[in-house]
Symmetry: C3
Subunit: 371 residues, 3 copies
C-alpha cells in the first residue's frame, strides 16, 4: 500500500486540524485578498491555482528530505505540512498582489517552496529549533521573501497609488470572510503538528488567548490613530490576526494564558501601527510596494514570534537552545531575503507576461469580466 496509516485517535484529530488549515489556505487567504475592488477573481481564483499547485510541489520538496524506501509516503501529517509550505507562497503573493502575471506567480511558487523546504529542514532537523506554529519559517519567511520580490519588481509609476488599488464596501465584506475564518482556525494552524495531545491542547489555548487579546489592541490602536476615533477596515482585516502569527513559535510552550495574551496584545499594536505609519514609508522611501501589507501581518509579528521563542526557551519554557532559536530566525530571514531577491530578478525577465502599470489591480487583463 502506498499510504502510511496512523493510529485512529490521532487520525481523527489530525483530520479535523487538516481541514481547518485547508480552510485557512483556500478560504482564509483567498478571500482576505478580495478587498481590492477590481481584483476579486484573481485574489480567490489565483489563490486556488497557486495553492493547488504549491501543495503538490511542497509534498515533493518536503518528501525528498524524508524518503522512505526511496519513496515519498503520504499521510495526513504530510498533507498538513504541504499546506504549510503553500502558506509561504500565499503570504508572498499578498505582497505582489495585483502586479504580477499568473506565470510569474507559478515561477515564484516553484522557487519559494524549494527554498522554504531547505530552510525548514535546516531549522527543524539541523538547528533543532522550536517553531510549532511557524512564526519564523512560514510567516517571517513568506513575508520577507515577498517583500524582496516586491522590491525587485518596483514600479515607480505606481508610487502615487493606482485608482484600482483600493476597496469598495462589498469587497471589504468579502475580505472579512477570509479574516474571520483565519482568526477562528488559527489555533488549529499553530497546533496541527504539535508532538503530543498535551502539546496540541496547549498550542490551541495559547493561540486562542493571543488572538483574543490581539483583537482588543488592534481595535483600540486603530481607533486611536484614525481621524475622529474611527476604525479602519484594513487594520481590522489584518491586525486582528497578528496574534496568531506572533504566538506561533511559543504556542506549545508553557507560557501561560497571560504570556500568550501579552504576545497577542503587543502584536496587535505593532501590526496596526505598521499599517498606519510604516507601509507608506516602505513604499515611498524604499521602493517596497506591499499591496496587502504582509510586512505588518506576517513580517513584524513573525519576527516578534521568533524573539518570543528565544526568550521563552531561555526561560526554560521548552527544551532547546536560545542560540539555536536565534539562528533559526536569522536563517529564515536570510533565506527569505536572498531567495526573494533572486526570485524577483528571475520574475523580472521580460517574457513572463507581467502586466503593464495601467492594468495593475484589474481582473479584466486575465479574466473574462462582464462589467
Amino acid at each position: 500500500r502506498t499510504y502510511t496509516h496512523t493510529h485512529t485517535h490521532i487520525w481523527s484529530v489530525s483530520w479535523a486540524m487538516f481541514q481547518d488549515v485547508h480552510v485557512m489556505i483556500f478560504i482564509g487567504f483567498g478571500f482576505l485578498m478580495t478587498f481590492l475592488k477590481r481584483y476579486g477573481f484573481s485574489s480567490v481564483g489565483l489563490n486556488l491555482l497557486l495553492a493547488a499547485f504549491a501543495l503538490q510541489w511542497g509534498l515533493i520538496m518536503q518528501g525528498l528530505w524524508h524518503l522512505d524506501d526511496g519513496k515519498i509516503k503520504v499521510s495526513i501529517f504530510k498533507m498538513i505540512n504541504a499546506d504549510f509550505s503553500t502558506a509561504t507562497v500565499l503570504i508572498s503573493f499578498g505582497a505582489v498582489l495585483g502586479k504580477t502575471s499568473p506565470v510569474q506567480l507559478l515561477i515564484m511558487t516553484i522557487l519559494e517552496i524549494t527554498i522554504f523546504s531547505i530552510n525548514e529542514h535546516l531549522v527543524a532537523e539541523i538547528l533543532e529549533a522550536n517553531d510549532v506554529g511557524a512564526s519564523m519559517i512560514i510567516h517571517a519567511f513568506g513575508a520577507y521573501f515577498g517583500l524582496a520580490v516586491a522590491r525587485m519588481l518596483y514600479r515607480p509609476a505606481l508610487r502615487n497609488s493606482h485608482e484600482n488599488d483600493g476597496s469598495v464596501y462589498h469587497s471589504d465584506l468579502f475580505a472579512m470572510i477570509g479574516t474571520v475564518f483565519l482568526w477562528m482556525f488559527w489555533p488549529s494552524f499553530n497546533s496541527a503538528i504539535a508532538e503530543s495531545g498535551t502539546d496540541q491542547l496547549m498550542a490551541v489555548t495559547n493561540t486562542y488567548f493571543s488572538l483574543a487579546a490581539c483583537v482588543l489592541s488592534a481595535y483600540a490602536v486603530s481607533s486611536l490613530v484614525e481621524h475622529k476615533g474611527k476604525l479602519d477596515m484594513v487594520h481590522i482585516q489584518n491586525a486582528t490576526l497578528a496574534g496568531g502569527v506572533a504566538v506561533g513559535t511559543c504556542a506549545d510552550m508553557d507560557i501561560g494564558p497571560f504570556g500568550a495574551m501579552i504576545i497577542g496584545f503587543v502584536a496587535g499594536i505593532v501590526s496596526t501601527l505598521g499599517f498606519k505609519f510604516l507601509t507608506p514609508i516602505l513604499a515611498s522611501n524604499l521602493g517596497i510596494q506591499d499591496t496587502c501589507g504582509v510586512h505588518n501581518l506576517h513580517g513584524m509579528p513573525g519576527i516578534l514570534g521568533g524573539i518570543a521563542g528565544i526568550v521563552a526557551v531561555a526561560l526554560g519554557k521548552k527544551n532547546g537552545s536560545a542560540a539555536m532559536q536565534g539562528a533559526a530566525l536569522a536563517s529564515s530571514l536570510g533565506f527569505a531575503l536572498v531567495g526573494g531577491t533572486i526570485t524577483g530578478l528571475i520574475m523580472k525577465l521580460p517574457f513572463w507576461g507581467q502586466p503593464p502599470d495601467q492594468n495593475c489591480f484589474d481582473d479584466s487583463i486575465y479574466w473574462e469580466v462582464i462589467i
Copy 2:
C-alpha cells in the same frame, strides 16, 4: 502545567464541536447581521470585537464559580462555555443593532455576562435544571435582556423607520452566509456540553430533525402571510433557525425524531408569525425597537424550548423536576428583564457616545468608509 487535559477521544470530539460553535459565533452571528445595507462593517466587525472580548470575560466570570486550587483552569469544555456566554451578548446586540456605540456595547458585554454567569450557576448548580442546548439560559435570556435594553434606549424619532434600516440585494446574500452556517452547525451547539457520547449523539440528531422540520414550516408560513405567496428573506434568514433554539432544552432527552420535529415545526411557525405581526406591534405600541427581531428567533422559541423541557421532564424523558425546569425558565426571564433594564439605564448615560438618530444604521460614523 496550567491546562487540564481530557482524555484523547473526548478531546477530539470536543474540539470538532468547539470549532463548530466558534464558527457559529464569529461567522454565523457576524454575517447574519450584515443584512443592513449600510451597517455590514459594524455587524461583522463589532461582532468580532464583542465576541473576542466577551469570551475572555466569560472565562473569568464562569471560572470564578469553579476555582481549582484558587486558579481558573482552562479546557476545551470551558472554551465552549465561554463561547456560550458570548452568544448571549451577540443575541442582545441583535436587538440594539445600529443604535448603539462600541463603548455602549462593551459596557453591555461586561454587565450581561456577569449577570448571565450568576443565572447560569443558579440554573445548573442550584436548581439542577436541564438545559443542554441553552434555550432558556442563552436564547431566552439573551433576547429578553436585549429587548429590555432596547426599551430603555427607545428612540421615538425612529418610530416610522429609518432609511438605512433595511437591506439591499447583496447584503441579504451576505446574511445568508450567517444563516446557513448557524443552521448547519446548530447540532454541535446543542450537543457540545452533553454529558456522554450517547447524550451527545441524541442531541445532535434531535437538533438535526428539529431544524429540518423548522425550515419547512418557516417557508410555508412565510409564503402564506406574504403578498402573492412570495417568500420574505427576513423570515428565511431567521425563522429557519428557530427549531435549533426551541429544541435546545430537550435536545439530550429521548423525545424521539417526531418529538423533535414537532418542536421545530411549531418554532418555525411562531417565529415567522412573530416577524410578520408581533415585531411591528412591539415597536409601535411598546417602544421596543428590535432591529434583528431577536424576539422571534431567540425570545419566543427560547420560551417554547423551556416549556418543552418542562413537559418532557414531566413525562419522564430525563431525570429532573418539572418544577425546577419551570423555576429555571422564570429565573432566566427574571434576570434578563431586570438585568437588561438596569444595563439599559446605564447605557443611556450621556457620555458613552450613543449615535444621534440620523446616524443610526450607518457604518460611516464609526468606520472609515469609501462610498
Copy 3:
C-alpha cells in the same frame, strides 16, 4: 432508545466527515448557484428548502430498505447517506435553475429521491458494485436525471439566451464561496462511507490528489480556449471540481497518487471543454438547456468515474467484478434518463406554477425583493 450508537472513535471521525458533507450540501451547492445576477435568493434559499426537505425524505426512502425491527433507526452514517441522496436533487436543480417553481422542485425532490434509493439499493446490494464516492449513483445519476427533466421543460423562447441568465462581478464572487468549500471538503464526501479507517484515509488522499491535478488542467484549458489566454469564471467555478466527481468510484481503491492525479487531470480537461463547446450544442441542437452546466461538472466526470472504476476493478485494485461495475453505471444512467423523463413530464403539468419565460432567472417572482 431510538438511536443506534457507534463506537466513540468512529463517531468522532464520522461526525467530522458528516459536518464537511453538510457544508458541501448547504453552503457548497447553495452558493455555487448564486452566480446568476438576479437569482441569488432562490439559489441559496431554495437550496436550503430542498435540501432540508430532501434529507427527511431520503432518510425514509433509504431507511425502508434497512428496517430494524420494523423501525428506521438513525445514525450518523444514515445522516451522511441522507445528505448524499440530497446531493442528487441539488445537482438536478442546477440543470433547471431559474426555470422552475418551488412546487415543481419539491415534486422533483420526492420523485428523484425515490428513484435514487431504488437504484442505490440495486447498485450496492444486488450488483454489489463499488462506488464509495458515488460518481455513478449520485453524480451521473443526478446530472442525467436533471438533463432529462430540462429536456422535458424545454423553452424555445430562451434559445437565444435570457438577459438575466448571466452573472455580475459580485455574484461570481459569491459563487466562489461555494466552489472553494466544495473543493476543500470533497475528500470527506468521497471517504465518508468508506468501510474502514484505512479505506477512508485512502479515499481522502486519492481525492486530494485528483482535485489538485484537476485545478491545473482546468486553468490551463480555460486559458487555452478563451480569447487572449484569459480565464473564464464559469470554468474555474465548476471544472476545478470535476476531479472530485471523477475519482469518486475509485477513491478507496489502491490506484496510487499518480492514478488519482491522471483521473483528475483528465476530468478537468473534459469538463472545461464541455462548458466551452458541448453546452451550447446541447442547448441549440438537442433542446437541453442546462443552466449550471451540470453535464460538464457531474455528468461526464461521473461517467468517467464509472469507467475508471471498471478499469480499476478489472486491474484488481479492489475486490469486485468489472461487469457489475459496468452494470451499475448502466443502471444509474438508465434510471436517471427514464426517471428524469417521467418526472419532467409530471413537472410540466400546467398547475405547478411554472414561471413564464420572461420571469425566468429572476428572484422577484418568488421573493419580496427591494431593488
